[in-house]
């Protein structure tokens, strides 16, 4: 773990990292419960195990920066400070959802947070993120676009076109690959020629590139502090690979029994939340009481969110035809 950071960060901030990771973890647990109860429908892809990435990375952004991500987007949305009630209600398809229940789990948006969307077409968010960075460049604003993607997205043509465009146009953006080793049931070893050396994919655009332990929230945060300042400083786009693991299956429908037991076991030991918790206790930064306080606050927030979502009304039938075009 990146101890260095421990000293630069206040206890408040460190505990906030813990709180956010815990919030995401519990949010996803609740989603799985609600899915089995039939309150959440369609596809449900949880972020469980990858919390350190969204929390460590997004904590380095400014409010005006853009966040773009893929369909596994609950974690980034909550880390960006989107309203837990509104996100849960969106998953319930309720009128009080962040997108009025029209987008659902895979398509979260929040204009107030410059959360520019979760996108469900693998790779589809990359050109859009490039466009947001282009807008920042064109208007000469010091804003950047942080674009998350899965390792599977690296197979898509849109990845190549977006990386090349960002490099050629020197766009202020960060391509952040959440490498959880699988795209659905396919190990990246079977689908990506350089799955062990993803940095080569960035070298192909002579783009700055980095690799980090995606289960170490401080390491991710530390790296992103450096990269964001480079990008703001006009050094052009950057690519980051964060190694992590999808503790659950691809979606709630996937038992994921195509994965070797040892692998699953190993990664359980790498769970970012216990790791971080032990670090803080081990270094005397925080006590069990601190964590208990946070945990119960999080639990309350989740219970409240589920209650809010359940109590909220479905959209009125008229909503079917609103927002197709400017109303």
């Amino acid at each position: 773990m990146a101890i260095a950071q421990l000293h630069d960060l206040s206890k408040v901030q460190l505990l906030e990292f813990y709180r956010q990771m815990r919030l995401i973890r519990e949010f996803e647990r609740e989603c799985e419960r609600q899915y089995t109860r039939g309150n959440i429908k369609g596809f449900l892809h949880v972020y469980t195990g990858e919390e350190a990435i969204a929390v460590g990375a997004i904590s380095t952004l400014k409010p005006e920066d853009y966040v773009v991500t893929h369909y596994r987007d609950h974690g980034q949305a909550l880390a960006r400070g989107m309203d837990t009630n509104g996100v849960m209600a969106e998953l319930f398809g309720k009128a009080t959802g962040v997108s009025k229940g029209k987008g659902g789990s895979m398509h979260l948006f929040d204009a107030h947070k410059n959360f520019m969307g979760g996108y469900a077409i693998v790779g589809g968010q990359l050109p859009i993120a490039a466009g947001l960075a282009l807008a920042a460049q064109y208007t000469e604003q010091e804003r950047l676009a942080l674009c998350f993607m899965g390792d599977g997205a690296l197979n898509e043509g849109e990845f190549h076109e977006s990386m090349n465009l960002a490099a050629v146009w020197h766009l202020p953006m960060i391509f952040f690959c959440e490498n959880n080793l699988y795209g659905m049931g396919a190990p990246s070893a079977d689908t990506l020629a350089v799955h062990q050396q993803m940095y080569l994919l960035a070298e192909a655009y002579s783009m700055a590139n980095y690799r980090v332990d995606g289960n170490d929230v401080l390491a991710v945060h530390e790296l992103m502090l450096e990269v964001t300042s480079d990008v703001r400083g006009g050094k052009g786009p950057a690519f980051i690979e964060a190694r992590t693991y999808r503790i659950q299956g691809h979606s709630i429908a996937d038992p994921a029994n195509y994965r070797p037991e040892e692998e699953v076991e190993y990664w359980r030991t790498q769970d970012p939340i216990p790791r971080f918790r032990e670090l803080l206790t081990g270094n005397g930064v925080a006590s069990e009481e601190d964590f208990d306080q946070i945990d119960s606050a999080v639990d309350e927030e989740i219970v409240a969110a589920a209650a809010f979502a359940e109590a909220s009304p479905f959209p009125e039938p008229e909503e079917l035809m609103t927002h197709v075009y400017e109303d």
Partner: protein
């Protein structure tokens, strides 16, 4: 006779192809160990091995194009596009290449490629994952488009596709996979370009394909209880399109409703309605009517999605209106 699911019918058709023709192999995303996003190829990987069941990278354009090339070389690849929504990423290979190589080469090369994909709304997966582009493919000369609505048709049509030397887009419906139906144990085939009258009736003709053909039957059931005897025509293939069967039916009933799942403006239903009035204008008592999806992306919220696409009751309601009841 056996009763199987639509999913089992597709799996059986694929197994027959693999067993009977060494030139056949499958390519697709997660069709291997994962067993396919809709569990159609469950077990195939163990049975047939990775040589014939090719799990691919997430590269829709490359896998379809690879299918085109392999087909030009004389093989019979079957490429799965996980859903038709992702076919937009392979449009260039399907439309600019697969469909045109025979023609541009003056007949020197053929592309006996089968593209299997999944269409439809109603699964609560929102706008990007609930589309129906089969009508677009049906507008492309050089392609054939198959849209089965039952296990029986899946098997019969798939077998006929195997005899073709041209690219076929075989479109399965996400909500039909678990539906069941009788299939004969014989090695029967259903030729492309032959619509089916799936219910006889004298008062009005309901025309649909894929899941909407089933919705038409549901509507007909409801109508029969109200003294309206509806005939149902299941198109089964969009290209070639069998307008004669439709026309014959309308000659008898003098009224027609075209049902489709995608939004109305620019939908394939316009083609059908247009051809009906061109063919049997003088037999029509009332204009050909259409019922289709809403002019909106498909919303996630279930109550909205349900009213976004035609149902048995909305089709029946329109039929009553047409009948002046």
């Amino acid at each position: 006779m056996a009763v199987i699911t639509y999913r089992e019918a597709v799996a059986q058709a694929l197994r027959e192809s693999l067993d009977e023709d060494p030139r056949v192999f499958l390519v697709g995303e997660d069709i291997g160990p994962y067993g396919g996003a809709f569990a159609v190829t469950k077990g195939f990987w163990d049975e047939y091995g990775k040589r014939r069941i090719k799990d691919s990278p997430l590269s829709e354009s490359a896998i379809v194009g690879a299918g085109v090339g392999a087909a030009m070389a004389g093989l019979r690849p079957i490429v799965e596009l996980m859903t038709i929504n992702f076919s937009l990423l392979a449009m260039d290979q399907i439309v600019n290449h697969a469909a045109k190589i025979r023609y541009m080469s003056g007949g020197q090369f053929s592309v006996p490629l089968m593209i299997r994909t999944v269409t439809g709304a109603g699964a609560s997966v929102a706008a990007t994952h609930s589309q129906s582009f089969e009508g677009w493919f049906a507008s492309v000369p050089g392609l054939m488009v198959v849209v089965p609505s039952s296990p029986r048709d899946v098997l019969g049509l798939f077998r006929s596709c195997r005899d073709l030397q041209d690219p076929v887009v075989f479109v399965e419906h996400i909500l039909l996979y678990s539906t069941r139906g009788e299939v004969s144990d014989t090695n029967y085939k259903i030729p492309l370009g032959q619509a089916a009258v799936t219910r006889e009736g004298a008062d009005i003709t309901l025309i649909g394909y894929s899941r909407m053909a089933q919705v038409c039957l549901t509507a007909a059931e409801e109508l029969s209880g109200q003294g309206i005897n509806a005939e149902v025509v299941d198109l089964r293939t969009l290209r070639p399109l069998d307008i004669d069967t439709v026309a014959e039916s309308v000659k008898k009933t003098h009224r027609a409703i075209v049902v489709e799942e995608t939004s109305k403006l620019g939908g394939f239903g316009g083609e059908i309605a247009s051809q009906i009035q061109e063919e049997v204008f003088d037999y029509l008592d009332t204009p050909v009517r259409r019922i289709a999806g809403a002019e909106a992306p498909i919303p996630y919220a279930m109550p909205l999605e349900q009213i976004a696409i035609p149902s048995g009751s909305t089709v029946a309601a329109l039929a009553r209106q047409v009948m002046g009841r």
